[in-house]
Symmetry: C2
């Protein structure tokens, strides 16, 4: 790992994040807010230099925020803005700034309006009035995503604390709506940023990538490169630090183009792109339909494809063929094939794919049969042996990759490998026709 914080120009703001809540401190809830804020802020030139989590108690909040303010003068908090007596973020932080709490009539009217609009019976409970109590001199930040408004509190010396709600959906919405625009305005156009782009590869081992990348393998032109292997394949993250946003975007654009040229078809997308979505697009562009035949994955591949909205014009369906009898009766696999080669074999996978294609009247079918474990492995076919076949309009291809991991990983990797095989078969078909 590298020293990003040292590359950030001093004109940039250093910020600390304090996430508030006993549930976080006890470990019942995983803190995803801090990571979201850090990523979003880095992209506009703000360096998060420390983050802390404290409990709901007034003293705990006051201590954590005071210490963070003393270090950086700029703090973002999440949590503790709710309507109950345990939500003490606002008064605790107001006390640090020596401010009294006052009722904000506009916020109160807004809360009453929300209560009414929901059609709840009776008047708004008194407890909700607490959400309309605002530290004197604070700026109220509108929350379109929930009832608790955010607060921006600042003193004469320019030290500030922004308080955001703890519910991730609300926090994310307010981060985009109000936090980022305000911070960006404050930084002006001269802030340097930490920006990154991620290329997604499939069907290539992490250890094979440095050779393919050659001179780009350990970063280039001021860009650093991280290899991030996972069950979906190996992601390659290019990061640019210490440049203006426009410069960084141009550097990354050039870097991504150079990487793509070397990596060729192994790249299937960027960022959070889903290989299943890409395959669906390929099929739709060719006006093709698909069916699946799944043994060890038991429906995961179908679930991946149908997770994408609007998939019904491409996905016809499929057979979950967990038992041999189902493979024979519902996919037309020959008893003799299973007897000669076993249920986990390329021969069986090929007959499964062709059976699914013809019986469902699809243009393309994909099949998976394998040993996901933990039991069922043999010396010849250990756990992780996977056979995958794709039938594209009668042209059948199959592979037998060795997949590693526990049962869940093996199944996930198998579905991904199957999608990767379809993708390549379709690319190949396009090239040859």
């Amino acid at each position: 790992m590298d020293r990003f914080s040292r590359n950030v120009a001093p004109r940039n703001v250093n910020v600390e994040i304090v996430t508030i809540g006993d549930e976080l401190l006890l470990g019942f809830t995983i803190d995803t807010n801090a990571a979201h804020l850090a990523r979003e802020l880095a992209a506009i030139g703000v360096a998060i230099v420390r983050r802390s989590t404290c409990g709901d108690g007034a003293d705990d909040i006051a201590a954590a925020v005071r210490e963070a303010l003393d270090r950086t003068g700029a703090v973002i908090t999440t949590g503790g803005l709710g309507p109950t007596s345990d939500d003490l973020t606002k008064p605790s932080i107001a006390a640090i700034f020596g401010r009294a709490m006052r009722l904000d009539e506009a916020v109160l009217e807004n809360l009453k309006g929300r209560w009414k609009a929901r059609g709840w019976p009776g008047d708004m409970p008194v407890a909700n009035r607490q959400q309309a109590m605002i530290p004197e001199g604070a700026t109220v930040l509108a929350n379109r995503h929930g009832s608790a408004p955010g607060i921006w509190l600042e003193d004469e010396a320019g030290r500030w604390v922004v308080m955001l709600p703890g519910v991730p959906r609300e926090m994310r919405g307010m981060c985009a709506d109000v936090l980022l625009p305000r911070v960006r305005e404050r930084l002006g156009a001269s802030a340097t940023v930490i920006a990154s782009r991620t290329l997604r590869t499939s069907g290539v081992a992490e250890s094979a990538l440095p050779e393919i990348l050659g001179p780009l393998a350990s970063g280039f032109n001021g860009l650093s490169l991280a290899y991030l292997p996972g069950w979906e394949g190996v992601d390659l993250r290019l990061t640019c630090r210490g440049h203006l946003a426009t410069e960084a975007a141009a550097m990354l654009e050039t870097g991504v183009a150079a990487m793509r040229e070397r990596l060729g078809v192994t790249v299937y997308g960027e960022g959070n792109d889903d290989l299943a979505a890409f395959v669906l697009q390929q099929l739709r562009a060719r006006r093709m339909t698909i069916a699946v035949a799944e043994s060890c994955t038991g429906g995961m591949l179908g679930a991946r494809l149908t997770a994408i909205p609007g998939s019904s014009d491409v996905v016809l369906g499929g057979v979950i063929a967990y038992s041999n009898e189902v493979k024979e009766k519902h996919l037309g696999v020959h008893t003799s094939t299973i007897a000669a080669h076993g249920a986990v074999s390329e021969a069986t996978a090929r007959e499964m794919a062709t059976g699914a294609r013809t019986r469902f009247g699809a243009d393309v079918a994909i099949s998976i049969t394998g040993i996901a474990g933990p039991d069922g492995g043999t010396p010849e076919k250990p756990v992780g042996t996977i056979c995958i076949a794709v039938d594209v309009q009668g042209a059948v291809q199959s592979v037998r990759p060795a997949v590693v991991g526990d049962r869940d990983e093996i199944r996930s990797r198998s579905a991904q490998a199957a999608l990767s095989l379809v993708r390549r078969a379709l690319l190949l078909q396009s090239e040859t026709t």
Copy 2:
């Protein structure tokens, strides 16, 4: 939320956690280590009173750990124990304690042995020797899960820092192997703990639970109760604070029994129990087999059932019937049924279930058809309309729940609702036979 930290007897240890790494601070990696440590430590009577995340820089580490030590005198760190020059946790913390670093021959031999055992070519790289550098006077904590050993460093005043690796699998292993036993020994038998048990319910709305629970609805006998709704159903967490471990276990046992009596069949398990695993057990106990017929879930239900090791004696397979044609041709749904009631209807769901049961020769079949969105909804059948049917040896039941959420949530909740329906149908069958 409540004030757990105030209920903990003063004889208990207050600890801070410091997680170290630029990747965490930048938000590229979500910090799951801190939550895991907090839960495990709470269960043996240790209160986490603050946690912090800092970058990889030596100054950053030293500042964060020194401040934490000043507050509590007891700190657990994760991360920065790797073999590269950026892994600075050990020397940074050694400096706080005024200790020099020295090469530990036993650790070095162990590292060399690991290198050799893996069959890697050549001698161990010099960089790896850094992992054998240990602060003077520190205790080395064996790591059975990776190469970096943990470190326990303590001064004359009894202030201590434990350094654990950042890789979650290694950290969790070492937490169980060495951290918890050592901390437990130090606390002795007089420590009070925070202990909890979680009951899992399905098929009942959160808002209906208080009435069912009656006098237990807001905690009882010193136990607090939290309602945790999610796509799997509503979990109910009972928490006991400030008692000895044995007392807490007895109080929770009594509490769980009282809750179960009131909740009856809505409870399907505890902790992380999986409803699919429970259904598989039910079926196996009755020597029954199952088949699935899935439209909008596209394979998720099959994937849930086959995710469980050894499911092949119960699960035969199923049909992913995404198109109407597949529903008719492969499940025997009548064209007239779809014409009269629509593809998303209880009538269609019932024919799908029966078709799957008879065609696959299963004892039980379960079907799902619905509108997962975001498109495809109508005023009569809005997005979230789900029809589920179960056929148990010819006896068919169906329901049409309204499910909320985005496409992914609707599909997940649908699969869970289907499993819930099978479970109840089997319980009902047992009662009547």
